[in-house]
């Protein structure tokens, strides 16, 4: 039913949606004369971004690099673990409770540990992003890998396919949509994890801008940084959606 890639109408809808949000925001803040320290106006924020573009751009690249790396590693770990659990089912009883428990602790609680283990630099941020996304991908991938019906599995077995053959030719393709769902959900989370970790200790990045600016009561900078990060992760998300449509072409 859903044919092909992203149409111009999809793009238009995204633009209209975001534009509406900003117009409503601008109008409301002007109408109710909301002071900057409660909610600044989007135009002011935009101007702040332009003014501080060099600092923000450098921080954004830093943050996106950490997010991207953490996202990739976390996704690989999540998928890899899910694959292991499907290949060796008894492991599930061991790994899942542990994964659940780890994930139940807010990632911020691990920041001190991350700082101890991975230092102040990018390493600890990447570790936090990995932590934030791996579980989500794991859960989705696991459910996707278990989706194929018994008939299809039996067919593969009758051709003499081993666990790996079934995994590669049946389970993984069938799990693709679920995995991408996991990635979609996880992307925002890993951005958050990185920013929060940066707030608690980093040399650079959006999180540091947020943290320093908050302490210096500079809300325009806070919002400028956060908005930039938002747009950055929206761009990453767009790439994911494009991949998504390519991956489930057979619907």
């Amino acid at each position: 039913m859903v044919a092909g890639g992203v149409t111009w109408r999809d793009r238009l809808a995204v633009v209209i949606g975001l534009a509406t949000l900003f117009i409503v925001w601008q109008a409301a803040t002007m109408l109710f004369a909301v002071p900057d320290y409660i909610l600044p106006r989007p135009l002011d924020i935009a101007w702040a971004i332009v003014e501080r573009r060099e600092q923000i751009w450098r921080a954004l690249l830093f943050t996106l690099a950490e997010t991207g790396a953490g996202f990739a590693i976390g996704a690989l770990i999540g998928i890899g673990l899910a694959v292991c659990l499907v290949l060796i089912p008894p492991c599930e009883a061991v790994v899942m409770p542990l994964a659940v428990a780890i994930n139940a602790v807010p990632s911020v609680a691990f920041v001190p540990l991350a700082l101890i283990w991975f230092g102040l630099g990018m390493g600890s941020k990447i570790a936090m992003a990995v932590l934030a996304i791996a579980f989500i991908v794991l859960l989705n991938a696991l459910s996707g890998l278990k989706k194929p019906e018994q008939g299809h599995i039996d067919l593969m077995r009758s051709f003499g396919a081993g666990r790996f053959g079934i995994l590669w030719r049946l389970r993984l393709p069938a799990a693709m949509p679920s995995i991408v769902t996991g990635l979609r959900v996880g992307l925002g989370r890993s951005t958050i994890a990185v920013i929060v970790a940066e707030m608690l200790g980093a040399y650079d990045g959006i999180g540091q801008i947020v943290y320093q600016s908050t302490a210096q009561v500079d809300y325009l900078s806070v919002w400028a940084a956060v908005l930039t990060a938002m747009l950055g992760s929206l761009a990453l998300y767009g790439c994911l959606v494009a991949i998504d449509r390519k991956l489930i072409w057979w619907r």
Binding site: G151, L155, F159, G160, R169, I248, W250
Partner: protein
Amino acid sequence: MDSSMATPSIAADHRPAHLQLINVWKRFGPPERQTVAVRNVDLAIQPGEFVTLIGPSGCGKSTLFNMIAGLIAPDDDGSILLSNKVQQDYGLLGKVAFMPQRDLLFPWRTVIDNATLPLEIEGVSRKAARARAEALFPEFGLEGFETHYPHQLSGGMRQRVALMRTFLFERDLVLLDEPFGALDALTRSMMQRWLLDVWAKHRRTVLFITHDIDEAIFLGDKVVVMTARPGTIKCAERINLPRPRAASVTTTGEFIDIKRRLLAVVEEESLKTFGGATLA
């Protein structure tokens, strides 16, 4: 289990059987509300033999096939022997070319990629596999549909793709579960011919489920009839019609005789499913 039991029945046929079932059972569900699908099946099939299997709907034919293909383990009461060797549970996987009743095509693979699936699993290069499959497309009446996806095919076309897939998985023992069920009369007879040609050339052992008694007699060296559920072997009839068989054989008196006999047996069994309802 006890391969000693096998000896007499092999001896009786004077040739080693390719496939032998000894007291095979299959029960589903918990003991309280059990469905016995297959009961006490004994069967021996010679190498290169073409055996057709008929029986009322739901009598356990597909279940029997699943056990022979190694997909489900028979209950502990009996054993399955391939070339006289007792097979462990699931030991038959990969040794038998199996076409399931439902086509089970993969929705994300094109027609040709669905067909070459078993070759890929065997490790044949993609190019070689495709070349081998492509040669079959005209014979299967699927020319021009190589790059379609399964949802773009008709029911009969899907079934033919599934059959092609099975034959690209070249094994000495072939199990076909109603391979021609969704085909019109002529496509069906074209495919029957093709099947007999392949069989004559390679002499694979074929076990073939059908609901069409004509088809069963026309194709088989032996027709095996199963009883209503719980299914066991009711009788087996050797078909001594000369080969190669022309389509006209179906009008010979000998053929009609066999058909009448088998029909009577099958009807008796089918009626049990309907709890003794009568047919005018």
